[in-house]
Amino acid sequence: MSESTPSEISVTINGVQVEAEPGEMLIAAADRAGVHIPRFCYHERMSPVGMCRMCLVDVDTGRGPMLQPSCMVPVADGMSVNTESEDTKRAQEGILEFLLVNHPLDCPVCDKGGECPLQDQTMAYGPGESRFVEEKRHYEKPIPISDLVHLDRERCILCDRCTRFADEVAGDPLIHFTERGNATQVLTFPDEPFSSYFSGNTVQICPVGALTAAPYRFKARPWDLEQVESTCTTCSMGCRVAVESSRNELVRYLGVDVESVNHGWLCDKGRFNFESTNSSHRITTPLTRDNDDPRQLLGSDWGSALALAAEAIQQAGPGRVGLIGGSRLTNEDAYAWSKFAKSVLGTDNVDAQLGDGLSAEVVLALPLATIAEACNADTVLVVGPDIKEELAILHLRLRGAATKGQTKVVEIGSTPTGIEPYAHRSIRCAPGESAKALSELLASDDPLAAQLKQGSLVVVIGRASLAESEEPTLSLAASIRAELPHATFLPALRRGNVRGALDMGLAPGILPGRTRLDQPSPALSANWNTVPTTKGLNTTEMLRAAASGDLDTLILVGADPLSDFPDRNLAAEAIQKVKTLIAVDTFITDSVAQADVVLPATAYGEQGGTTTNIEGRISRLTQKITATGSARDDWMIATELAWRLGGDLRLGSKEEIWREIEQVAPSHSGVTLERVESSEAHEGILVQRSSIELDLPAPGTPPVADGYGLRLVSGRKLWDAATTTTYSPSLQPLAEAAALRVHPNDLQRLGISSGTDVRVISTRSTEIITAIADDSIERGTAMLPFNQPGGGANRFIDAAAMVNDIRIETV
């Protein structure tokens, strides 16, 4: 159109005047006006392609009505649209008759049958009969295109949604149209599966049953599903999900489109790990040690198990008890444990993080950004773990923003990451020297330095490598604060509700509401029996104290230090030395197997409450199924234990707990239960206040590497030996075996060929691991994923060292 576009456009849809924004597609304007135009290929989060022609409507731009696809026509002022004209109806009938020419009528055995847009729209807009009597197109019935997704090409209507998603949104263009004409079909490349971390989304957006998910295959029909809206707690992104169950068994999660967080997408780990909740390996009753054979854990009852636990805690006394974990829980459960430890037990030895995050005082004091701010900032500086592996949906959001040119992603790290192909600049540095690399960049006359200094800047900060101590990351934070004071932060922390757990005071020196021990709110002082006066120990210090015999009782709340703490030797020594180990968990993990008292807790889907994501957004969790066995919510366990120790938490329900949190936590004041339960919580309620002053330690310098060793880098992979992955039968095979990646020249120097077993020696351990040559790894460094099946990097790491070196030898 030649006329200049005004700021607001007015179109007439079915005789009703509708205001639209310039550039908006007609179909979107109609949606907002409440006029539904049928569609298959159009998806509001992807670019329009006009593949299916289902959205043809009569558009009159002054030249008379004409059928046009409303997903491809931008609104223009004065446009008159009729979505119910005779021509439109005839077009819709024709398109549906065409689509059904080759679509098999196997709806009764199709997983989509009952919620299928093709079924629904055929009923609503179809001709009712087909003139096509010839044989339909035939292909081999479902072929697995990845371990999680099946493709039935007979059912495909070639809408281009999955292929567009793979290319545009996920950045894994591994499925595409092949052949031409009647033989056009969606297919992977030969011998290359659709192994995307986001493949499950294609199943959700497929408008027919062409793509189905292996974990949901034939599990239920849509009409026997019950659905609630909840929040995923697999990682700390807080994606909104619809949790669906059939017959009290979780069968499916669907992504819910929330503008501020996940845009409707989910990663495959979050989408499919519901299988672990249903696992038969869940702990169903309390377990205690057999008196005759102390190596055996025997089923017990709640009364005696709680009595044993209370007795051990009582005997140890407040100074010799520690509580590790809590970052898998809801805010309410975390608050109950926090109040239990600090108010009833009187100890400050609590830590929700397992030595793999950042100090709570730093996390809670950093000025927070939101995910949306990050996507719209001039620059996003990513210094931390590979977000594609650890915060997959944040990767998706940043990738989308970077490819659309909304922001520039700059990363500083020592190993290749998933965001690298979309990064404006990837700066490689030696492990532990990211602060130095940033300072060098800022001191140079590189245009990027000016951009960082002037434009809006969001820093995604976290522990890039678990083989490094926290110190290099804190040094980096210090130099960012010093040189780029306008930066805001998104802390990339591990485990679902770690942010909420820290907010609730599950960290040494912290009280609920992002306050320090010495500044309790008046409401908190009134509500709590005692408030610890001296700062307690963090996880590393607790494990060290336990190993040297200074702690008698250790309580693990959904924590597995043997697998998740960076230093396995220290964790093992601590667990062995401690007199009583109490574990509150859902599965018998390595650490739980060593416990003296095991208390079964409810898992995701079995509990309601709230969770807080990395940006401080509080959203609701909803209970969908009943608890396994006699498992209880964590707050009940904490309350019960407190009562047995002569204290009373005075907490009777999750709602009551939230009311108390709202009163005692200054950061959460005003976020009332009513608000949390209202529709406002659909997007989540942002809580970013903090009363902690940022106080960063002075930077130190990492030791110089000797010529023989390789500096170890270790991060997590999406598919690893994490508990929920291990106990999800569909996901468990996706975790690759542990392998050490080294630059080919470093291997060659030692006369080792790629793919052979090598002896890996560190100050902590000597083990045999397969070494693989990888020229994307810098020389002098070696990358070992943190927790793969068959051996984690935590065996080689010394938590006391700022960086860890290893040496490799031929076997």
């Binding site: 009764p108 055995v109 049958g113 479902p142 034939f218 029909r221």
Partner: protein, 216 residues
């Protein structure tokens, strides 16, 4: 003698044909569309017709049907196609024999027999499992210990599957719409609604049910 007048009716009836029968020794023929307990049919090659689609469970107003589907084992498929019903249960304490499940079934897997005389002594017996519902190798329903059967009762199985021809379309009148069935083969077509003879009480139920060409 006035009281004898009262016996007039009694004596008259003594010589008339009796309308009552010696039930349960003797059973009267059931109407053609009588709804008894269900059977799960099999194709002539022995494959089960049920594909576990749960449409019967979805339509059931009494919510008495529980079905779960599963992937057909590749080497030893239970039914043709991808999916089969690996759990199929009907709770006869709830079933109201409305036959909506039969209407909903896309594969004619579930039909109703004319068997209705069962007395359970516990609730578990009232839940018929797939093993109990599926027809035997002769295509006839399997007798459960608590069911009252007379000879030939089982032959009156598979009543009308649909109230009318497919979609009520007159074009399908006198065209066989059913697939082959174990023990019955292909059944003869249902007659059109208009050229149907007036329903008569006959003692030959099988003919009335539309079974033909098969000797029992």
């Amino acid at each position: 003698m006035g009281y004898l007048a009262g016996f007039k009716v009694t004596f008259k009836k003594l010589f008339e044909e009796r309308v009552t029968t010696e039930y349960p020794k003797e059973k009267r023929p059931k109407p053609p569309r009588f709804h008894g307990r269900h059977v799960l049919n099999r194709y002539e090659d022995g494959m089960e017709k049920c594909i576990g689609c749960e449409l019967c469970a979805g339509v059931c107003p009494a919510r008495c049907i529980y079905v779960r589907g599963a992937d057909n084992p590749e080497t030893d498929p239970v039914s043709p196609g991808e999916r089969y019903g690996y759990v199929y249960e009907i709770n006869y304490l709830r079933c109201i024999h409305c036959d909506l499940c039969v209407e909903a079934c896309p594969t004619e897997a579930i039909t109703e027999s004319k068997l209705f005389e069962f007395s359970f002594s516990n609730r578990n017996d009232a839940i018929y499992t797939k093993d109990e519902l599926v027809v035997g190798d002769d295509g006839l329903p399997q007798r459960q210990p608590w069911e009252l059967w007379h000879e030939g009762d089982d032959l009156a199985t598979s009543g009308w599957m649909r109230a009318t021809a497919p979609s009520g379309n007159p074009d399908y009148q006198n065209r066989s719409g059913w697939s082959g069935e174990l023990g019955y083969g292909i059944r003869s077509p249902e007659m059109g609604q208009h050229d149907r003879p007036e329903p008569q009480e006959t003692d030959n139920e099988t003919e009335e049910d539309g079974h033909s060409g098969v000797s029992h």
